[in-house]
């Protein structure tokens, strides 16, 4: 319990990850499904950003001549977050384009109904 209180950012991000994961897995509405994907990815970025920041230190940009490494935070996690955001943007764009085409064809966003209609089409 004590661990949860000291690592509350990480705990929150893992809970958010779970919410997003279950949404992506179980949600029937396709748009909400991919919102779940975004929650899941964002949770990971929160985790990285929280882990990457150490209280009282600053971004590693030399402004006042301090070269001691203890004064700065590690820039790599922030870089990873940026890379991850690019990845999740492209995946989201792709999935939304796909959802749009499915909607044009079937007229619904409900995955169950789409599966049913698709099976009927196949059976013809």
């Amino acid at each position: 319990m004590n661990h949860l209180a000291t690592n509350f950012y990480e705990a929150a991000s893992v809970i958010l990850f779970g919410i997003g994961f279950m949404n992506l897995l179980l949600q029937n509405n396709l748009i909400k499904k991919f919102i779940g994907l975004n929650i899941m990815d964002t949770a990971v970025y929160l985790f990285l950003a929280a882990k990457g920041y150490i209280f009282g230190r600053v971004a590693p940009i030399l402004t006042n001549g301090v070269v001691d490494a203890d004064y700065y935070i590690n820039p790599v996690p922030a870089g990873l977050v940026l890379t991850g955001i690019v990845v999740s943007v492209s995946v989201t764009a792709f999935s939304l384009a796909l959802v749009q085409r499915l909607y044009k064809h079937y007229g619904t966003l409900n995955m169950d109904e789409i599966m049913k209609l698709s099976r009927e089409e196949e059976g013809e």
């Binding site: 893992v14 990850f17 997003g20 994961f21 992506l24 897995l25 396709l30 499904k33 994907l37 899941m40 990815d41 990971v44 985790f47 990285l48 882990k51 790599v76 996690p77 990873l80 890379t83 991850g84 990845v87 492209s90 995946v91 792709f94 999935s95 796909l98 959802v99 085409r101 499915l102 064809h105 079937y106 995955m111 789409i114 599966m115 698709s118 089409e121 196949e122």
Partner: protein
């Protein structure tokens, strides 16, 4: 090292060339020109990978290639040894033959304006698979996993039918669940080890195991990463995305996805086993046993699903589930010889399944685009070449001697002897699975050689087979039999590669 060997640039150059071809392909509007660019690129990479393989296996060496300006603990690296070079060579050879044999499907089934886009995705996919084979940095691996996902989804939906879109959605959702888990695993692992490069990570993991710090997070991380990879590579019970996607896609896409893309994730997994977690840690955390059990379950369940299936392409998709089960079973043995068998099965399955999909696609097309096995009766007589290719592939899947499939099953069986406690399970399940394989492959093979009775015995209209398809099928069969007879050099290279990975 002051002197940079020319050969050491090959891994980077291969990935770069594939990605570069993906970038320049939009400039050509014509699918056939795009196909030529793609074919040339894959052929060049095949030659380069062969040179790399000869070089590293002769010197028994493994090397890292620094990407960018920062050296080891901070920068990004590629790493190549005999195993990586062999996999790159296999991937490029299989890719070349598949696109050669399957290009007619692309021209017929993809809208003409979008054919060049299809090849962009194929180039990106190939680049991403090579990157997964060569990378030494775990976050780079994640990024290329996502590129792989998007490109493979685009290849599935290229046909543009509603079925293809539904299949793509299913594939996309399951894949994203897998990559999400992998990403979270990478982030937690990074936060407890402080490194992203595999060798440094391994040192930290071994140290953590020795001191007992972060034992629980480490367990969770291995769980996340291997479940992620298992989902991506469609290990049973995460296989539900395969049949819909492969059944609806262009046969060329199905062939590449099942023969190569699934394998690229498994190779990443093998690199994680040796490069990050080390075999001892895998044993201590019992991950190998979990993979072993799911592998065994997949071997049986995949075949059972395949037996129920009446449509040919979906049957092949379920058969892939069973074959992925074999590979995980080999990894799950937790011994070096088990891993060798698994790696050999990756080669054997890559060349066999792609041939099956291409021949199956051709027979379905000859039979009026009906893929139920009932309609495929006599398809082998209508198009003997596709029929022979399918038969050879089916025999290899069942494990008839002189084919590649036989050797991998032989090696699985002999590997089980060295894994105490697992031998009985492996031998029993292997026997059951081979019988089940025979039970669904032989009826479909007999069906394609049985003439339709109701058909009036008129001479069927001659079916034009493109010479490229013929050459590809012949080369596939030759490759399969080569692996089945002269398997020793391949096994030798795999063994050397695995010992150098450690």
């Amino acid at each position: 090292m002051a002197h940079v060997n020319f050969v050491h640039n090959i891994p980077f150059f291969s990935i770069f060339l594939a990605m570069f071809c993906g970038i320049i392909t939009p400039l050509v509007k014509n699918g056939r020109t795009a196909r030529k660019i793609h074919g040339t690129m894959v052929f060049i990479i095949m030659i380069l990978s062969a040179i790399l393989l000869l070089n590293v296996s002769e010197n028994r060496e493994t090397f890292t290639f620094m990407m960018g300006h920062f050296p080891a603990p901070w920068g990004n690296e590629l790493r190549a040894g005999p195993l990586e070079a062999l996999m790159a060579l296999t991937f490029s050879a299989v890719m070349f033959l598949t696109v050669m044999g399957g290009s007619e499907f692309i021209y017929k089934e993809v809208v003409p304006e979008k054919q060049n886009l299809y090849f962009i995705m194929l180039n990106a996919l190939f680049g991403a698979m090579l990157a997964l084979v060569y990378t030494n940095d775990i976050f780079t691996a994640y990024v290329f996993i996502e590129i792989n996902t998007i490109a493979s989804c685009a290849l599935i939906m290229a046909k543009g039918t509603a079925q293809a879109m539904v299949g793509t959605t299913h594939y996309l959702v399951i894949s994203l669940l897998g990559s999400g888990l992998f990403l979270l695993g990478v982030c937690i692992l990074y936060s407890i080890t402080g490194h992203l490069l595999m060798p440094q990570m391994k040192e930290a993991v071994v140290q953590l195991m020795a001191t007992g710090d972060y034992h629980f997070p480490l367990l969770v991380v291995t769980g996340f990463m291997f479940i992620g990879i298992a989902i991506k590579s469609a290990l049973f019970p995460f296989h539900s995305m395969l049949p819909g996607a492969y059944g609806a896609a262009v046969p060329t896409s199905s062939a590449i996805l099942s023969g190569l893309v699934l394998k690229s994730y498994i190779i990443l997994g093998i690199k994680l086993v040796y490069g990050v977690f080390s075999v001892d840690v895998m044993h201590q955390l019992k991950i190998v046993d979990v993979l072993f059990v799911f592998g065994l379950a997949g071997m049986v369940m995949g075949s059972l699903y395949a037996m129920r299936e009446t449509r040919m392409k979906r049957m092949l998709a379920y058969s892939s589930v069973a074959q992925i089960g074999y590979i995980y079973m080999g990894i799950g043995l937790g011994t070096r010889i088990g891993m060798t068998a698994a790696c050999f099965h990756i080669l054997a399955h890559a060349i066999t399944k792609t041939m099956l999909f291409v021949c199956c696609g051709q027979m379905v097309e000859d039979s009026g685009n009906k893929e139920q096995i009932f309609y495929l009766k006599g398809a082998g007589l209508r198009n003997p070449l596709a029929g022979i290719g399918f038969t050879a592939g089916a025999l290899s899947m069942v494990g008839v001697p002189l084919t590649a499939g036989f050797i991998s099953k032989l090696y699985f069986a002999s590997a089980s002897v060295y894994a105490p406690g697992k031998m009985a399970a492996v031998l029993v399940v292997l026997a059951i699975s081979m019988i089940l394989n025979a039970l669904y492959f032989l009826p479909s093979t007999i069906a394609i050689w049985t003439p339709k009775k109701t058909e009036v015995q008129e001479k069927p209209a001659p079916i034009s087979v493109s010479p490229a398809f013929g050459i590809a099928v012949v080369l596939f069969i030759v490759a399969n039999i080569t692996l089945g007879i002269w398997y020793r050099p391949f096994i030798h290279i795999i063994e050397m590669g695995i010992s150098l990975l450690q």
